[in-house]
């Protein structure tokens, strides 16, 4: 399965709107048993701009498949937003995007 992160970040009047989609089955224990696969879900997502945290969430496997998140924060054009996700097996992934 392709492990990809899609990030969109747009600035308007000092407020940056971010949309991000992560690839994950988000299968918790019970669901994994039903489907006959290993449990796999993202448990932690953090977004940083200039090393300052702008978004942070700890999740369980009860978020929907391929989680899509949207949020806003005060920021400016040209900065880079860096996402880091950690899944239940401790695997880390990062994705970067410039704010438009």
């Amino acid at each position: 399965m392709a492990k990809k992160m899609k990030i969109k970040a747009k600035e308007k009047k000092g407020i940056v709107k971010v949309k991000a989609m992560f690839t994950s089955l988000m299968a918790d224990k019970e669901e994994a048993v039903k489907k006959g696969i290993k449990a796999s879900y993202i448990k932690y997502i953090v977004a940083k701009v200039n090393d300052v945290i702008v978004y942070e969430v700890t999740m369980s496997g009860f978020m929907s498949e391929n989680p899509l998140i949207k949020f806003k924060f005060n920021g400016k054009k040209g900065d880079k937003i860096v996402f880091t996700t950690i899944d239940n097996n401790g695997k880390e992934q990062t994705g970067k995007k410039k704010i438009k």
């Binding site: 945290i53 702008v54 009860f62």
Partner: protein, 153 residues
């Protein structure tokens, strides 16, 4: 040093480490509150995560959710608040474990979070927000009808 004192000192030291940490550094709720993630009922889950403090209803903490969700596998939820919250958690009674997600809100952030959750059956969804500084807990809840269960059901 006798044991009683030792425990007290240990706790104080622990608190001293944890309290400044919340402001500066990332907080992983799965590590700090591992118990809360295993609990089935919303009421107990809130206690495990935030302690026994009373819950207040507030107009300033709201969330949008569909009344009737056709697909339990993906229910869009939007949390909005004008309060200065430290963290927000979402609980539901539909799944084997009640806690869906916990946001830790950075200082001065705009609280408007969009995401999707899974629910197996019709149940009440509760969000709880903890105010920065005072530690007051605010809550809002809604019942969501699910016609087809998510979670592979």
């Amino acid at each position: 040093m006798d044991r009683r004192k030792f425990l007290g000192v240990g706790l104080a030291a622990f608190a001293a480490i944890v309290v400044p940490g919340t402001d500066l550094k990332a907080m992983n709720f799965r590590e700090t509150k591992p118990k809360a993630w295993e609990i089935e009922k919303t009421v107990d889950g809130i206690k495990a995560l935030y302690g026994n403090a009373g819950l207040k209803k507030s107009d300033k903490l709201t969330f949008k959710a569909p009344k009737l969700a056709e697909n339990g596998g993906s229910i869009p939820i939007t949390i909005k608040s004008s309060l200065d919250l430290e963290s927000i958690a979402l609980f539901q009674d539909a799944n084997p474990r009640c806690l869906s997600c916990v946001f830790s809100v950075p200082k001065g952030a705009i609280i408007e979070y969009d995401f999707r959750i899974k629910m197996r059956q019709t149940a009440v969804v509760t969000i709880v927000g903890k105010e920065r500084g005072t530690g007051t807990l605010y809550t809002a809840s809604k019942e969501i009808d699910v016609s087809i269960g998510g979670c592979g059901g």
